[in-house]
Symmetry: C2
Subunit: 217 residues, 2 copies
DNA sequence: ACTTTCTAAACTGTATACAAAATACTTTCT
DNA sequence: AGAAAGTATTTTGTATACAGTTTAGAAAGT
């Protein structure tokens, strides 16, 4: 493999943004919790400036919300709001599954299968954090299979935004295993290369996901 | 109507962000053009700090793109990329039309009709900028009719992102009038309250929109 | 004890200075 | 003339200071 161009060094602000995204997605910061510029600056060994930039970018992406007069908070949604988000996500994911089913190729199939193998491994090991990452990668592989980076980006954003709520349904090793198993049915539907089957399969998956997240929250 | 809570005063960074969004959406800044912190700071009578914040937020929203090593640019898409964006937008808009058709109520109908009246007025007057605003408001009214702010937000983002490319198809008064007329068919389909009709109508509208944008770019 | 007013502390947004990195331009060498 | 090295300029990211706004807590008044 040819070496890639030299990657620009990640700025402090980017580093902070990434770290916060991961924590929030993993549900490590509770909904409604306020993020404090000054203590984050201390924690990351930086000044307020890059912290402010990271927080501002995350509000622009809807990952965080700005208080009315002050403060930046991890978004906290009512049951109604949560169902609206899942509805939107549900529609996007169904579109992705439909398009992916139409566009499967050797690479995308392999990527989905490899990602699923990682999910299974993490679930068997009872590795909660590892499973969250592997689950993320699994869904990303489906998004990539659409061959449309913009669809993939939208879907990823929703996946990230619902991360904190979905993370709570993975309480035990048994939950992880059940989740990994549900992926198998989904893969079968997508690999059928039939749009309607894929779309329907994803809708079922998302409905189950939502129900479980409701129960756990 | 009861007075709303006092709105927080808009920061300089927010002001700059809004102004840039409008200009970019209206196609006033060419794709590929670099935005320069220093001259923007001069132009807005501010320091680099709020300019950087605005630019950073706009890159986080995908409205602008970061150069590999330096610079922030108005996104420039290849024909292939443009078709991918429109494809994603097409899917989102069709979902919105479908959901809106299922959820119409007196308020949403009125809003759509009022927005269309504004489109017609702007088109008849040959008011290019006014038409862009009215067109934006028309689509926003449809998104709002979904009753799902998250669907609406995604759709609005795509609408905004494709603004520069779509703006170019509104070259003459005749183009504005044709666009406003195409809205009528779309309204009829959505107001049919039939999901499939609404979805199909929106797909037609988006296909025509894309073809026209291709021709004009 | 409760309410109002005042004060101090915390938070927010911005300007400015500084240093490092990237790029453009000029000079020197082959 | 073309390439390499050196220099100057521009751009980027960050730290810090400052001023304005908001909030919390203390003091005074009823």
């Amino acid at each position: 493999m040819k070496a890639e161009k030299t990657e620009p060094r990640q700025s402090t602000a980017q580093r902070i943004e990434q770290a916060l995204i991961e924590e929030i997605s993993a549900g490590e910061v509770s909904p409604g919790q306020r993020l404090d510029e000054v203590s984050l600056a201390t924690r990351f060994g930086a000044s307020r400036t890059p912290v402010r930039e990271a927080l501002s970018r995350l509000t622009a992406q809807g990952v965080l919300v700005q208080g009315e007069r002050r403060g930046v908070f991890v978004a906290e949604y009512s049951r109604k709001e949560l169902s609206q988000i899942f509805e939107a996500m549900h529609e996007i994911e169904a579109c992705c599954a439909r398009i992916a089913a139409q566009r499967l190729n050797l690479l995308s199939r392999s990527e989905i299968e490899a990602a699923q193998a990682d999910c299974v491994a993490a679930a068997e090991a009872g590795d909660h954090v590892g499973y969250l990452r592997a689950n993320e990668a699994f869904h990303s592989a489906i998004y990539r299979a659409t061959g449309n980076p913009y669809m993939a980006e939208i879907a990823s954003e929703f996946h990230r935004r619902t991360g904190p709520f979905r993370a709570k349904k993975f309480g035990s090793r048994k939950d992880l295993i059940a989740s990994a198993e549900s992926h198998q049915a989904l893969i079968r539907d997508i690999f059928s290369e039939d749009s309607a089957t894929a779309s329907k399969g994803m809708r079922s998956h998302m409905t189950a996901s939502f129900m479980q997240a409701l129960k756990a929250n």
